[in-house]
Symmetry: C2
Subunit: 434 residues, 2 copies
């Protein structure tokens, strides 16, 4: 390694976003305490990897192309091995699953298959945001992938606090008013209505209707990330924003990472908004996203798409069915976590004062509130003396906030680990909380 | 499809880059004349798809992980099916191939595995370009993926004409001088030294040394795209910029699309430049690229990486060996194309006046110069009356230029098609050239 040393300050500012430093710190802590029980990673559980059979999934998708789409084996080879359309190959299957599982009824032309939900976010932001006057409203705290993509593109974000069942709508009104007053505008708002990462919050049905009404009144688009919707029990499921009246304003974003497998790196955007072309003709916003995708990754690997296509076909085109056992495992883990919190930190359990948490009915995450700062020194002590890891919630806040909160992820652990981890966490909190 | 119509003008300007309209036009013409012989697509030949065996390639990579890296089958499952590191999984194999094939000797830590070369380009541009004072110099005409990524990020490009064996160095000097005079600077220059897309030009050895010297003097980085280097015969191979003295200034970019298969969507960036961190420690530019990647696609599909890893292992870690038969086929196609041009358009063949072409010794492309405009009306007539398609070279020019040139791609065709296609092209040119 020789040559001129580049200064980090001379590189793009998105590298300096606090969240990246935080992730580095967290990885570093996890590396130093490999035996600690970690509530940090929100990764899918590995129990389901036994069900994955790549050759079988691909073979099923091949058969579908040959039998249902009447392609010859050579044509199938070309589809899987050659460059492919930027918009994707399995769009029809994705559209079908959205209809079956969520009542989202859109033509397959409005679907763009992406390299995970992350690329979908990037494409939508790039396409919609054109000037520094365009602001992105964000339910706060927020998924770091959204913040990262906005930083990468130099898009300014404005925060709207999320609460357990709702957004702070008064704050949203104020944010819109202030934007107008300063000659800016809210171009879009990002929300994960179902058990968001990191807070586990969920938008109730009334709040969903209200948010759609605000979007209509203030003329902005909603970017709906449905990553964790599949973890709701059937009885508790709420319709996505996209399926409600006013859903024309919603660009729906999703991933197969949690429902099928992360390693395929397949996600999607649904963008059926009409776009008037310079020629006068009408296209879809999805067409524009596909064009931007041609400048980012060209197309999503057809091999990866074939894997996901095969899994969908195996489950009669339903993501919900493909993910039923997973949803049940995550539901169970969440129950175990909440019970353990009750037992070790609830009333009558020598609970330290002022410790509280929300009670999500789905998703991977629980938000714990303390009376002391949940910061890096506390995390260091937690790892070193008590053998338990978690994520400071401040990592996920736009601007400042969340200093006294932490995120517990239960997706990756087994019940005994969750139980023991909460036990350790309770010991830490009894030691540090006044 | 209901709701408010978005105006295309209200979306990001990268959608309006002329090249996107051109691609749409070209696809539309190809759609209307499916029986025309098309010299337009620069896609890999499908002959090699018979050799692709996804389960076998993945199994070979699995075995490598188990036997050479001593991982258990469960650990391998986790590596292939779970989220993975942004920098990649097969970095060691990529670094080994670069050493074996090109004499590029870099640590595996300097490699980032990307979703095709396109993502590598985007990551490098995003990381390096921070202000509107940073200009990207580009060998002109230029690969549309580079132009697209620059437009997406709002990076201004300045063109430097390529010539058959060289760049216009006087123009490059002038470009640097003017940038300085206006308070800007050339931050980096993009070149594809070996048989570039679209012109087929190749930088001679002296020009490579000279370019490295200019980069040193003017203090900019070179972004070297080696997509077509593998098509050179062994006897004709030239060392990449990255392997020459001064190569510390080179970020080397590549793809396995042409050498292995497009459908895996795997490429890479080699960025061993040292970066001083705010903490004072020294990292690699590759680390920064990986951080930016976490905001674009998170990580490249491990399944896709396993496919490419398996193919590399099958050929003793050498891309050159994996691609030998492909290189031979493209060499043959190029010979057939040049012979056909000689026969149908050369001296003594009732050749229309002023038609000339270059004679690349590798790559997929030949540049043909006419005395009449090689524009869309001519392409329309070419397709309709003569049954042959090609790409107007003006599509690839930064700014104006190339109006009287066209690109012929020979990678995707068979010899008889090339022969017949040139025959048809000659009839067109005899009809339109004065």
């Amino acid at each position: 390694m020789t040559g001129k040393v580049l200064e980090r300050e001379s590189l793009h500012a998105c590298l300096d976003s606090p969240v990246m430093g935080s992730i580095t710190f967290l990885n570093e802590v996890m590396g130093r305490f490999p035996d600690a029980i970690s509530f940090a990673p929100g990764a899918p559980h590995t129990a389901f990897f036994d069900d994955i059979d790549i050759p079988l999934h691909i073979a099923r998708y091949r058969r579908y192309l040959e039998e249902e789409r009447s392609l010859t084996p050579a044509q199938v080879d070309r589809l899987l091995y050659q460059y492919g359309p930027s918009r994707g190959l399995i769009n029809e299957l994705v559209a079908q699953a959205l209809r079956t599982d969520h009542g989202i009824d859109v033509p397959e032309e409005s679907v763009v298959v992406t390299v995970g939900c992350q690329e979908a976010i990037l494409l939508v932001l790039r396409t919609l945001f054109t000037s520094s006057r365009d602001l992105l409203a964000v339910a706060n705290p927020c998924f770091v992938g959204l913040t990262g993509a906005a930083n990468l593109l130099g898009i300014d974000t404005v925060a709207v606090d999320d609460t357990e069942e709702c957004l702070d709508f008064a704050q949203l009104d104020e944010v819109c008013r202030r934007a107008r007053a300063s000659g800016s505008r809210i171009r879009a708002m990002y929300v994960a209505p179902d058990f968001s990462n990191p807070s586990g919050s969920r938008l109730g049905l009334a709040a969903r209707h209200r948010l759609l009404a605000v979007a209509e009144r203030e003329d902005f688009l909603l970017l709906e990330d449905n990553a964790y919707a599949f973890t709701a029990t059937d009885a508790a499921a709420l319709p996505p924003l996209k399926a409600l009246p006013g859903g024309e304003r919603v660009v729906h974003l999703g991933t197969f990472a949690k429902t099928c497998m992360p390693g395929a790196r397949v996600g999607y955007a649904v963008a059926d908004q009409p776009v008037r072309q310079p020629s006068g003709g009408i296209g879809l916003l999805a067409d524009e996203l596909a064009t931007v995708k041609s400048m980012v990754t060209v197309n999503t690997s057809p091999i990866s798409q074939a894997v996901i296509g095969g899994i969908l076909l195996q489950h009669r085109g339903s993501v919900a069915e493909a993910a039923r056992a997973k949803s049940e495992l995550y539901q169970r883990n969440l129950r175990v976590l909440l019970h353990a919190l009750d037992r070790h930190l609830g009333e009558g359990a020598r609970a330290p004062a002022g410790v509280s948490w929300n009670r999500p009915r789905g998703g991977f995450f629980v938000r714990l509130r303390l009376t002391v700062p949940a910061d890096e020194p506390l995390l260091e002590r937690s790892a070193k003396e008590f053998g338990v890891l978690w994520t400071p919630m401040s990592h996920f806040y736009i601007g400042s906030g969340g200093d006294h909160q932490l995120r517990l992820a239960c997706s990756y652990l087994d019940p005994e680990q969750i139980e023991e981890g909460v036990h350790r966490l309770a010991r830490l909190l009894r030691a540090v909380c006044p």
